[in-house]
Amino acid sequence: MNNIVIKTNNLSKIYHQGEIEVNALNNVSCEFQKGEFTAIVGPSGSGKTTFLNIIGGLDSPTSGYVQIADVNISKLKSSKLIDFRLHNIGFIFQAYNLIPVLTAKENVEFIMLLQGTDKEYRNKRTHDLLEEVGLGELVNRRPTQLSGGQQQRVAVARALASKPRFILADEPTANLDSKSTTQLLDIMAKLNEEEGTTFIFSTHDQRVIDRAKRIIVLEDGKIVEDKK
């Protein structure tokens, strides 16, 4: 049975900073299986975020391609790609990036609304997810009324709401204190263990690295180590 969720083939990304060419990614090929809990690590400028952006269809490679569920997303047009992301990829950002004018409940519900799901389903799933991340009591608070850790847990619930094939998290614990980091990691590990949710992180945080089942080390845009 094919459990491959993501396959990258010779991914390269070249940026131009003025007249200087920067090789952010250099022929990166790898596969991610369903249910993985992967940390992508490396020093600043090693290409972690670029790699995640390309896997998530937020950026396009200079060469090579990304295949998700038999779809070469590197060839999709912008509008198709947005739709593909909506149904297949969940995102957790370093700065939480919730919609500030919506409550926790509305933030989680919003993505399902974009998917066009019915109200009853949305309400139930929103309720379940917020309970799961331990925010059942704070559903009507807006992001400014939540702590950083609570906001990031709403972001996790939002990422899960669309039932994506995998979740990409770009340094999700970077702005969190130890307690919030532990709570967040516990939630994500539980989701991974119990529901088989696939998580791919980029991180510097040793606490995240310690919990990861697979660690990919990037240096100068190349995979130098892939430990399982």
Partner: protein, 407 residues
């Protein structure tokens, strides 16, 4: 779609100061635009009303030759037939007969060119309002012999008072110059100083004797309809009956009034264009700031799967909401101020002499047709909508990966 509109609505209250600035600029833009329109409309209406009520009336009838060089013998052709036709024409309210002669008026202070208008005071009162513009004396009720009513400007220039004597030199029907003495019975003041300086009203019967016109011949018939809008209809009806005389509406007699109206319309279009353009730039600037300030958030929305069309709609709705809140307030302020100054007038006495030389009174009463409120409001909403397109389009050009990274 409802959720996107809901987000747009909430977004406008995120930065209350910026939203207030946009709304205030819309309110001020709308108010200034409507108020200037009302002032200009009021000014023009006053000018037209003044001209119509002092001398023009709605329709005038002349011998076609009289209009060329005002020869004393070019009187109305078939007068009785014309008068009967007028009486039988629908929508005619009142009419009056006039004699017109140009000449010189003299006294010890000098001689000046004038137009002597011979009127029947009783019927003239039903057609024009000179009698109500008297600032001194009477309107042909006191003096038995050769009374005259003159304008204030001429009275001042010739240092004339009530009962002062003036000598008028005119040409009679034989082409000879003839003199006649008149006494000042009344002094009027209209909002047109040129008219006040060059017009003398006398009785038609007195003038006809002096210039030697017999059999009740006249030079002019002035008609008022039941409303100004009836002018064209009455004139056309009369034209069908009377082919010999020249029948003209007020705008044909005094085309400069029509030109002024056209000129003002053009001026108003330019003015409104400038106001709306300024408004448009204000909206673009503020909304563009709103977009750039929320780059990260917009990038996130694109990343999680919000379609560009939805983002476009959201930004556009933010501007539309601001306009829909501000426009009624602007309209209300405009309505209140326009109605206030319609009743009390705007006192421009400091510029009275300049305005009166143009036939405009020193007190301007604002006036704005109801349809203009709708048209300008619609235009404002339209401009706001168009202005929102640029920031919305700018939002679409954001690259989600870069936008998320931005501070």
């Amino acid at each position: 779609m409802f959720k996107i509109i809901k987000i747009a609505w909430r977004n406008i209250w995120r930065n209350k100061l910026r939203s207030s600035v946009v709304m205030i600029s819309i309110i001020l833009g709308l108010w200034s635009g409507l108020f200037i329109l009302a002032m200009t409309y009021g000014l023009n209406e006053q000018r037209i009303d003044g001209a119509i009520n002092t001398v023009l009336s709605h329709i005038q009838i002349h011998n076609p030759d009289f209009l060329n060089d005002q020869k004393i013998n070019d009187t109305i052709i078939n007068k009785e037939f014309v008068l009967n036709s007028i009486k039988n024409t629908d929508k005619v309210y009142k009419f009056t007969e006039r004699l017109i002669s140009t000449g010189m008026v003299s006294n010890a202070k000098g001689s000046y060119g004038i137009q002597l208008t011979g009127i029947n005071p009783d019927t003239e009162k039903q057609v024009t309002e000179i009698y109500s513009k008297l600032i001194d004396g009477e309107y042909f009720t006191k003096l038995k012999r050769n009374p005259a009513v003159i304008g204030e400007k001429l009275a001042k220039k010739m240092k004339l008072k009530l009962n002062s004597k003036i000598i008028v030199t005119l040409q009679n029907t034989k082409g000879d110059l003839t003199n006649a003495a008149f006494r000042i019975e009344g002094i009027f003041k209209t909002q047109n100083t040129i008219f006040d300086e060059t017009t003398i009203f006398v009785r038609k019967t007195d003038l006809s004797k002096i210039i030697g016109l017999t059999n009740g011949q006249i030079h002019e018939i002035a008609i008022v309809g039941k409303s100004l809008e009836d002018s064209k209809l009455i004139a056309n009806n009369l034209k069908n009956i009377d082919k010999l005389n020249k029948i003209q509406t007020w705008s044909e007699i005094s085309p400069e009034l029509g030109y002024a109206q056209e000129m003002m319309s053009t001026f108003l279009i330019i003015f409104m264009g400038i106001v709306l353009m300024a408004l448009s730039f204000g909206i673009i600037n503020s909304m563009l700031m709103a977009v750039l300030e929320r780059k990260k958030e917009l990038g996130m929305l694109m990343a999680i799967g919000m379609k560009k069309r939805s983002i476009f709609i959201m930004i556009t709705f933010e501007t539309i909401f601001l306009t829909l809140i501000a426009a009624p307030i602007g309209l209300l302020f405009s309505y209140i101020s326009i109605e206030y100054f319609a009743k009390h007038g705007i006192d421009l006495s400091n510029f009275a002499s300049g305005l009166e030389s143009l036939g405009i009174g020193a007190i301007i009463h604002t006036y704005l047709p109801v349809k203009m409120y709708f048209e300008v409001s619609l235009l404002t909403v339209l401009v706001a909508f168009i202005s929102s397109l640029f920031p919305a389009r700018r939002a679409l050009k954001l690259n989600p990966a870069e936008a998320i990274k931005s501070l």
